[in-house]
C-alpha cells in the first residue's frame, strides 16, 4: 500500500526518531477508506514510545477495528522538536495509519492516564487546528472523547471535551458509534447538540456541557445540575462483568523503534480485592474479575507468536492475588524456556512461592527485591488499610536473604492523613531493622558484600473516589521538612551504610493534587499554561513549576483551595455527578475507619458492602 507521509523526508530526517511519525508497525491494521463510515483517531497524549506501551489503546484499537464500518487510527504527541516545525510550517497533526489530518475524523479519542498530560491534550487540539473549547467546535470538527482513569474527575479539562467515557471500553462504545451513524445519516443533517443529548443517555457516557455547575460564595460547589430531565443525574461507570467477553489484542502492534514496554502484556484480571484507602485504581476498577487461566494460556501463545516479542509480562493490580498464578507462571516458564523468551514478573508479594519463581527466572546476585509497605509504622499501615504486618515484611526479607538476595527496594508515601513525625521515623527504622536482619540471617562467609536497602518516598496525592478524597494535602515546606527528617534519622542508624534514601520533589505532587481534585475553574489555568509554553509536564526536563505558578496567578486560581484546604464530609465534590458504583456511605465509613486506624478485610475474606455487587459479577459473587 502506498501512503504518502504527512512529513517530508527533510523534516523526518531532521527530527529525533522519525519512526515515531511514519507508522508501518508490525500488525498495523490497514483498511480501505472507501468502506469506512466512521473514522476514529485514538490518541495517547505523550511521546510515541510511551503511548505505544499502553495496553488500553491496543485493546480499543482492536475493539474499534473489529467493526467493518469503522477505522481506528493512532496519533501521539509530537516531540518538542517536531512541535516547533509543525507550528512554524502550519502542518496539521496527522494519524499514523493513513497520515491524514486529525481534523478529518469523526472522533478524536484521548486517553487520560495521568494528570500531567493535560497540556499535551491541548497541544493535540492546537496542532490539529481545532478550537480548544468544545463549545467553539461545530459539526465540522471531530467529537473529542476522553477516557482512562483521569475521567473520574475530569472537571479541570471538561471544557475541552465533548464526551468523557466513564468505564470499560468494551461496554458502550458500540452503542455510541451506532448512535453516531444514525445521526450522521439523518436526512435533516447531522446536529452535534442533538447527538450529544442522545449520547448522554447511553450508560457510561458523560457529556460535560449538559451539566451546569454553580458555586457558593466560599468557592465550594453549590450544585451540579443536568440541563435536561431525560438524562441521568449521575453518570454510572460501566463495567465488563463477564471477562470471557473481553476483547483482547492477540495480534498486538509492535513498533519499529523500542517502546518503553517492549513485551507482550497479558492482562490477567481487573480490579483489586485489597481496598487500600489511598489507591484510586483499587476502587475505580472494582469488582475484582479474573480471566480464566486457560484463556490466558491461549492468549500468551498467540501473542508471543504474532508479535515476535522476547519477553512477556503480566498486567494487573496485586498480581499475587490472582487465583491461578502458580499454574499460569509454570505454564509461561515452560512454554518460554527453549524459545529464548523471558518472563518478567510484576511486583509480587515476597514469599516462598515468589522467591522460588524469581530464582528460576533471574540471576539472584544481580536482581533486587521490591517491597511496598507504603508506610513505616503499623499504625499508619492500618490507616491506609495496607494489610501488611511487620512480620510479613521481615519474614519475606529473611527468606530472600537466605535465598541469596541482598538488594531490597522499599517504597513509602509521605504526607498520608494523620501522619505524625513518629510514623515518618518508623521508615528508616524499618530499613535499619531489615539491614540488621540481613547480618543476623546470612553468615559472614556467605555474604557477597553488604546489603543494600534503598528506601524511596513519594508524596501522597488524595484522589477522587477513594476514602481519602476529603484529605487535605500539606504545603511544600512541610513535604521538604518530612523528607529531611527521614534522611537525617537514617544517617543516625547503626546500619546507615547499608541504607539509602531518595525522594521525589514535591512540585509535581502539588500540581497533581490540584488537577486530581480540581473543578472546572482550573481549565483556564491549564489553557493559559499551555499558551505560555507548558508542554510535556510529565517530563522532568520540560516541567517548569515557575511557569505553572505564573499561570495560576494570572488566571486568579488559588492552588491552596484545592490542596491544603480542609473539606467537610458533606461538601459537594466536583465529581459528585459521577457514580463509580461505590456508595458515598462506603467512602465515609472507610474514612472513619482510617481515622480509627481500623483495618477493613479484603473482598475475598469478607464483603464490606461497597456497592459494586450491583454490577452482578466478579469477586462479589465468587465462592
Amino acid at each position: 500500500m502506498d501512503i504518502k507521509n504527512a512529513l517530508s523526508d527533510d523534516i523526518l530526517l531532521s527530527v529525533e526518531k522519525p519512526a515515531r511519525y511514519v507508522g508501518n508497525e508490525v500488525n498495523i491494521i490497514r483498511k480501505d477508506l472507501k468502506d469506512i463510515d466512521i473514522r476514529f483517531a485514538m490518541c495517547f497524549p505523550d511521546v510515541y514510545e510511551i503511548g505505544m506501551s499502553h495496553l488500553g489503546i491496543q485493546i480499543l484499537y482492536e475493539l474499534f477495528n473489529r467493526r467493518n464500518d469503522t477505522y481506528c487510527e493512532r496519533v501521539y504527541s509530537p516531540w518538542p522538536d517536531l512541535h516547533e516545525i509543525m507550528k512554524e510550517k502550519k502542518i496539521p497533526l496527522f494519524t499514523l495509519e493513513t497520515q491524514s489530518p486529525v481534523k478529518d475524523f469523526a472522533f478524536l479519542g484521548i486517553t487520560l492516564q495521568y494528570e500531567m498530560c493535560y497540556t499535551n491534550v491541548l497541544q493535540v487540539l492546537d496542532l490539529s487546528g481545532m478550537p480548544f473549547l468544545a463549545k467553539d467546535r461545530d459539526e465540522t470538527y471531530p467529537i473529542v472523547i476522553g477516557g482512562g482513569p483521569c475521567v473520574y474527575n475530569a472537571e479541570p479539562i471538561a471544557d475541552f471535551f465533548d464526551i468523557f467515557y466513564i468505564g470499560e471500553g468494551e461496554v458502550s462504545y458500540n452503542a455510541l458509534l451506532d448512535l453516531y451513524l444514525r445521526h450522521k445519516n439523518d436526512p435533516n443533517g447531522y446536529d452535534k447538540k442533538a447527538f450529544l443529548h442522545e449520547a448522554a443517555k447511553i450508560d457510561g457516557i458523560y457529556v460535560p456541557s449538559l451539566f451546569d455547575v454553580t458555586y457558593n460564595p466560599d468557592g465550594t460547589i453549590s450544585a451540579i445540575t443536568p440541563l435536561y430531565d431525560d438524562i441521568p443525574k449521575k453518570v454510572k461507570r460501566v463495567v465488563l462483568t463477564d471477562m470471557d467477553e473481553d476483547v483482547y489484542p492477540v495480534h498486538p502492534l509492535v513498533p519499529l523503534i523500542k517502546p518503553v514496554q517492549d513485551r507482550v502484556v497479558l492482562e490477567i484480571q481487573r480490579g483489586c480485592i485489597r481496598g487500600c484507602r489511598f489507591c484510586q485504581a483499587g476502587m475505580i476498577y472494582r469488582p475484582n474479575r479474573e480471566k480464566s487461566v486457560d484463556k490466558l494460556k491461549e492468549y500468551a501463545k498467540e501473542m508471543l507468536l504474532s508479535s515476535g516479542h522476547e519477553e512477556i509480562s503480566l498486567s494487573s493490580l496485586s498480581t499475587s492475588d490472582y487465583s491461578d498464578l502458580r499454574e499460569l507462571l509454570d505454564f509461561l516458564i515452560t512454554e518460554c524456556a527453549d524459545k529464548g523468551i523471558s518472563v518478567s514478573l510484576p511486583s509480587l508479594r515476597i514469599d516462598a512461592f515468589s522467591l522460588d519463581v524469581m530464582k528460576r527466572l533471574s540471576d539472584v546476585k544481580k536482581s533486587s527485591l521490591t517491597f511496598a509497605p507504603e508506610a513505616g509504622s503499623q499504625r499508619m499501615r492500618n490507616v491506609i488499610n495496607k494489610g501488611l504486618t511487620v512480620e510479613d515484611i521481615m519474614g519475606g526479607a529473611a527468606e530472600a536473604f537466605k535465598g541469596g538476595w541482598n538488594k531490597v527496594k522499599l517504597y513509602f508515601m509521605l504526607g498520608l492523613p494523620t501522619e505524625t513525625d513518629e510514623d515518618i521515623l518508623a521508615i528508616p527504622e524499618l530499613g535499619n531493622e531489615m539491614a540488621a536482619l540481613y547480618y543476623d540471617t546470612v553468615p559472614k562467609e556467605e555474604r557477597h558484600g553488604k546489603c543494600q536497602i534503598n528506601m524511596s518516598t513519594s508524596f501522597f496525592v488524595p484522589k477522587p473516589f477513594t476514602p481519602f478524597q476529603w484529605a487535605k494535602m500539606e504545603p511544600p515546606s512541610e513535604y521538604k521538612r518530612k523528607a529531611r527528617l527521614l534522611n537525617d534519622a537514617m544517617k543516625e542508624k547503626l546500619n546507615h551504610k547499608s541504607l539509602s534514601y531518595q525522594w521525589h520533589h514535591p512540585e509535581v505532587t502539588i500540581l497533581e493534587g490540584v488537577f486530581a481534585r480540581g473543578d472546572r475553574r482550573v481549565g483556564k489555568t491549564i489553557l493559559y499554561a499551555y499558551l505560555h509554553g507548558c508542554l510535556f509536564d510529565a517530563w522532568t526536563d520540560y516541567f517548569s513549576f515557575e511557569r505553572w505558578e505564573e499561570a495560576f496567578t494570572a488566571t486568579g486560581v488559588d492552588m491552596d483551595f484545592y490542596t491544603i484546604r480542609e473539606r467537610s464530609l458533606d461538601e459537594i465534590l466536583p465529581w459528585s455527578h459521577i457514580d463509580v458504583g461505590i456508595t458515598e456511605e462506603f467512602f465515609k465509613r472507610e474514612w472513619e475507619n482510617a481515622m480509627k486506624a481500623s483495618v477493613t478485610p479484603n473482598c475475598r475474606d469478607k464483603c464490606s458492602g461497597c456497592g459494586c455487587r450491583s454490577y452482578g459479577g466478579g469477586v462479589c459473587y465468587a465462592g
Binding site: 523526508d9 508501518n24 508490525v26 515476535g308 529464548g340
Partner: protein, 239 residues
C-alpha cells in the same frame, strides 16, 4: 561444531519508511521477525539468551539499500530447512520495506559478514540542488578531482579525534551517469572496519572541491551491495 549447527547468510533490502529506522532498531526488528517466522535460530546460554546473529554493516538513517546482509546460526539440518524455506518464512512475516532477497548456507568456518566486508557500492541521486552544472562540466571536474589526482587528502573526524586520510586509493569506482533531467553518481567505496568511507563524505569533498557548499544540495542514497575481497576481486557477500 555439532552437525546440526549451521551458518546462514541472508541478503535483504531496506526501502520506504524502513529507512527511518536506525541500525539498533533493525537488529531488534530482525530478532522479532525471526521468532515470528519460527526460524530455528541458535540462542546463547544464560538467564537472558540472545540470538546468534550478526549484521554486515550498519546502514545510516535515511539511506535505502538493496544489498544488506545478516549472518545467523541455525540449529537444524539443510534437509529440514532449505535456504529457500528460511527466506520464504521470513518474507511472509516481514513488514513493508524489508525483504529477504537471497539466502545461503555457508561453511561454518567462513568469516562472518562484518569481518568480510571490503567494499560497498552506492547509487546517489540529488533530491534537490540549488546550483547549475551540466553533465559535461561535472564530468570534467570529476576527471580533475579524481582520475588525474595522485591523492585526495581529507581530515576525517573520528571518535578519537582527527585523522588525515587519502581518499584516492579508497574510491574503487567513481562514475557519473546521465539520466533524464540530470545525472547521478555510481560509486564503489572502501567499506568495513578498516577504511570505511561514507558516500556523503566522499561526495561532499568533491562538491567542496568544485566550490559548492553542502547547503546547496541534498542526496538520496541507495546502497546497492556489499562485497568481500576474494583474490583481489570484489564479489558480493552472497555470490
Amino acid at each position: 561444531m555439532p552437525d546440526n549447527i549451521k551458518k546462514m547468510r541472508l541478503k535483504f533490502s531496506k526501502t520506504g519508511n524502513m529507512r527511518f529506522i536506525g541500525h539498533l532498531d533493525v537488529m531488534r526488528y530482525f530478532q522479532k521477525v525471526i521468532r515470528k517466522a519460527e526460524i530455528p535460530i541458535r540462542y546463547s546460554e544464560g538467564f537472558h539468551p540472545h540470538q546468534i546473529m550478526s549484521f554486515a554493516s550498519p546502514l545510516g538513517m535515511g539511506l535505502i539499500s538493496s544489498g544488506e546482509y545478516v549472518d545467523m546460526d541455525l540449529v537444524c539440518t539443510e534437509e529440514e530447512y532449505s535456504a529457500a524455506d528460511i527466506m520464504n518464512r521470513m518474507n511472509k512475516v516481514l513488514s513493508e520495506g524489508i525483504s529477504i532477497l537471497d539466502a545461503a548456507y555457508l561453511p561454518y568456518k567462513e568469516p562472518n559478514a562484518m569481518a568480510s566486508v571490503a567494499a560497498a557500492s552506492y547509487i546517489v541521486h540529488y533530491t534537490d540542488k540549488s546550483f547549475d552544472m551540466s553533465f559535461e562540466e561535472i564530468c570534467r571536474k570529476k576527471t580533475v578531482f579524481f582520475d588525474e589526482a595522485s591523492s585526495i587528502n581529507i581530515i576525517k573526524k573520528t571518535k578519537k579525534g582527527e585523522r588525515k586520510v587519502d581518499l584516492k586509493p579508497l574510491i574503487y569506482r567513481f562514475d557519473i551517469k546521465p539520466e533524464a533531467n540530470g545525472y547521478f553518481f555510481d560509486l564503489m567505496l572502501s567499506s568495513g572496519s578498516q577504511d570505511n568511507i561514507k558516500p556523503e563524505l566522499m561526495l561532499d569533498t568533491f562538491h567542496e572541491a568544485m566550490g559548492i557548499s553542502t547547503e546547496a544540495y541534498h542526496f538520496f542514497i541507495e546502497r546497492t551491495d556489499l562485497y568481500k575481497n576474494v583474490d583481489n576481486t570484489f564479489v558480493p557477500l552472497i555470490g
